[in-house]
């Protein structure tokens, strides 16, 4: 790690890390991005290619960096057919184009399935996390062991700042969502448990089978086979049966979780999950006849992500808080994405997400190819970030999110840049007005999505 990067990432333990004005960080951040670029341009093939295309030899400004950012879709640019055909050699070579260290293709090519491939990669120091995108194709994000260590440290530190709760191993954690079984989630999950979980009780694991990458890709594989016309009716029937069984487990989990949380109501609890799942459990808790007054007044919550297209009543947040007796100051929300290894915790007073000094916010036009001029006051655009902490892959990423940023101080007093709590995905804003005669076989595949 270079000296400039080191100086900024070390701030993860600094109390005042969200209180540093952007102007004061500017030179240090450009210096650190330049340092990263000089080291990585020869290592990460896609970045080298991008630099060559743009004719960039070094980073002197934010404008330079913009030309070197990778869109979030870069991590799902591999052909899905390789998953279908178990071409781990090709997939490994693809992973190599976005990886800092050379992927040990020979050591992982004989994997028996995708979970085995990911396991073998981890044995060799390549930690792959997957996200399931709205299009169904999973992004594959490679990271290093150092990245995993960083995630453990950073997640708990950001939580502590945002929630105002000093982790004291004094509460029972209730996970209320089926968690994707991927390296980064496992690392942060472990870290939260180590910091917060009361050693006298056990973390409540949501009673659904963990979502593995193999599970995620099973659907992709079938979808592809249907499109190609090679799926037999009984293949589809078998998949439908598995889906129905999964759905049943998901439905039953709500009741099981509700009864468990009611039983644990006298102690301090920390609930975590996604809004849709939390809302369903909260509803079940109410139906059992319990609400705020039955729960401990120091309960806390961490909700990840947005609504993810779930349709909930307008007052879903209040409903969840009121069910589990969560005071506003113990609610933690965080803006991040699988492509980054750092979060932006939401402050209590201003209700805004705060960008830490080792993450450089770059606000682009909607098309994602131009840096918007930095103005006084709040303005909106496509979110892109350079996460200086990232080690195993490139830190510069263009997201699919539309955000409003303010580089001036927040109502909470912090002087660093902050993002308004109204983030939406451009994909969700785009209408369904697209109609034309040219199209793909995707329009002919029903039901498996």
């Amino acid at each position: 790690m270079g000296e400039a990067v080191e100086r900024l990432t070390r701030l993860v333990e600094a109390e005042d890390r969200y209180d540093i004005p952007f102007a004061d960080l500017r030179d240090a951040q450009i210096g650190a991005m330049s340092e990263r670029f000089l080291d990585r341009k020869g290592k990460i093939k896609l970045v080298g290619h991008r630099a060559q295309e743009a004719g960039i030899g070094e980073v002197r400004s934010h404008e330079d960096v913009v030309k070197l950012l990778l869109p979030h879709t870069a991590y799902k640019s591999y052909p899905e057919n390789w998953l279908v055909q178990s071409r781990w050699d090709r997939l490994s070579k693809w992973l190599d184009t976005v990886s800092t260290e050379r992927v040990t293709v020979d050591k992982v090519s004989d994997a028996v399935d995708v979970d085995d491939w990911i396991g073998k990669l981890a044995d060799n120091g390549f930690f792959v996390s997957c996200s399931s995108g709205t299009t169904g194709k999973s992004a594959m994000l490679v990271a290093s062991r150092r990245d995993m260590d960083w995630c453990r440290q950073e997640a708990v530190a950001a939580y502590s700042w945002g929630s105002g709760v000093k982790p004291a191993r004094d509460r029972r954690i209730f996970g209320m969502a089926a968690v994707a079984h991927v390296a980064r989630n496992l690392a942060t999950g472990e870290a939260y448990t180590a910091a917060m979980q009361d050693p006298d009780s056990e973390r409540f694991a949501y009673p659904v089978p963990p979502i593995t990458v193999g599970g995620l890709t099973q659907m992709v594989v079938l979808r592809k086979a249907i499109a190609d016309g090679t799926a037999k009716p009984e293949d589809i029937a078998a998949f439908e049966k598995i889906s129905a069984a999964r759905q049943k487990a998901v439905d039953e989990a709500v009741g099981i979780a509700a009864r468990a949380v009611v039983e644990a109501r006298h102690g301090k609890i920390h609930v975590t999950g996604l809004w849709a799942g939390l809302y369903n459990v909260a509803k079940a808790v109410r139906e059992l006849g319990y609400s705020a007054e039955d729960f401990h007044p120091e309960n806390s919550i961490y909700v990840g992500g947005g609504l993810k297209r779930a349709k909930l009543p307008d007052d879903y947040r209040e409903f969840v808080y009121e069910t589990f007796n969560i005071r506003p100051e113990r609610s933690y929300q965080n803006y991040s994405m699988q492509e980054l290894h750092s979060g932006m915790p939401r402050c209590q007073t201003g209700g805004r997400y705060h960008v830490p000094p080792w993450v450089v916010p770059l606000i682009l036009n909607k098309a994602g190819d131009d840096l918007l001029p930095m103005t006084d006051g709040e303005y909106e655009g496509r979110a892109a970030f350079f996460d200086l902490s990232l080690d195993g892959r490139w830190g510069g990423v263009i997201s699919g999110d539309k955000i409003s940023i303010d580089f001036g101080p927040c109502a909470c007093g912090s002087k660093g840049p902050s993002i308004r709590d109204d983030i939406v995905r451009y994909a969700d804003l785009e209408g369904d007005d697209k109609i034309g005669c040219a199209g793909t076989v995707d329009a002919y595949v029903r039901g498996v999505a």
Partner: protein, 477 residues
Amino acid sequence: MSSAIDLKKVAASDVSAAVSAPFFARGEVIEGTDAVHRSRDLGVNFATPKLELNRIVHPRIEVPPLLNVPLAEIIDFLVETGQRIADPNNTFVQSCIDRMCATHILPRGVLENQVKGAAAYLDKRLLNAVVEQNFADPKALDEWVPHQDYTGRRSFVRAFAPRLVHVLPGNSPGVAVKSIAQGAMVKAINLFKMSSSDPFTTVAILRTMADVDPNHPIVKSMSAVYWRGGDDSVEQVLYRPQYFDKIVAWGGGDAINNVIKYLGPGLQLVSFDPKTSISMVGKQAFASDETLDVAADLASADVMILNQEACVASRFIYVEGGQPQVDRFCERLHKRIVERAAASGDARPFDMELREQIETLMMMEDDYRVWGRADGRGCVIRSDEPVEFHPINKTANVVCVPSLDEAVRYVNVATQTVGFYPFDRMTEFRDRLASGGAQRIVQLGEAGPSTIGNPHDAMYPLHRFVHWMAHEDGCVP
């Protein structure tokens, strides 16, 4: 979102900056800037009048205005319309092209040719041929045709004028002319739902018609409006069998899924499905440098139809040969695509996702080779199986196959046109291509033209548009 709600969000500055897109309701032009919408591709604002639903629905108690106008008269009217569209002094068409340039991704020259070329469809012989191909007895459009079965039972059958909603596509303005002509020839009551990338052409043509005769039943049978596709506040109200018999829709995905919700007894869908077209090039192309040049040139012509915005434009080219041979084909193909792209003056940038996918393949040198770049000037990708993205914006994916028999498995239910080289191998393949789902097999380089009146999307559309009505007349004594 309703138009009225839209309106409240519109700032005065947006209205003045927006391009005006009037409506047409049963013969009348409706001007107005009550609502401002955004075009799909370029995000340009356009202003429309308020959508008055009562004005675009004919009560069923009224017989369709065109019912007793003879087909010959309708065709004459269409022919005259065609002449006026082609007339350079037609202000409706000129201003339509000006406005369309603001909302459409295609360059002006291509759009001009589209709109004017569309006028060529309004030809007497052509229109008559279309009708004759679609109906065993075209007289059924004009009268109740008597018929008697072998038991002696008598009846009259009429291809009765239907009530149609046409959900027009956004990628090909020429479809507007064709849809108007077809709707007129079946004597339908027509409502055209225009797309956001072209909310102008249909109205410009209808205004040209009204200019010929504002009171002609053809003009009184036509309405053209815009609402945002999927807007429940409109579709939930309009898409009912009490108002329409059939929804004629182009496209797939959300565009069709929105429509499907409203289908039911009495309201049917005639869908022109979204399609992918391909090419197959046999080893005979490698017979000499000349044949290779010919095959590459013909393939490039099919790739570049409407600058690859149309469904007939080829996207995947299966070439029978070894990699070094196929690479020679690719090189020539790329050169010809680049020349054609340059000639049309079209160098739109790629969208981020497609560019990313192509650039990734550029780095996978063992398995892929890319000619050109993802810069909108023409790009060819060679692979040993089809790429998973939809090649668009002058991009061809050449797939290396040891034998064209292998290529047949890549034909699927979304395959429309298969351009073939050499031509004498076509009969050997056509049954297998049809079985796989394909709809047309053509000589390479000829994906665009088709024999007049031939089936489209595996059907005779006009035959499906009409409301087949029987008048049973008892038995012969």
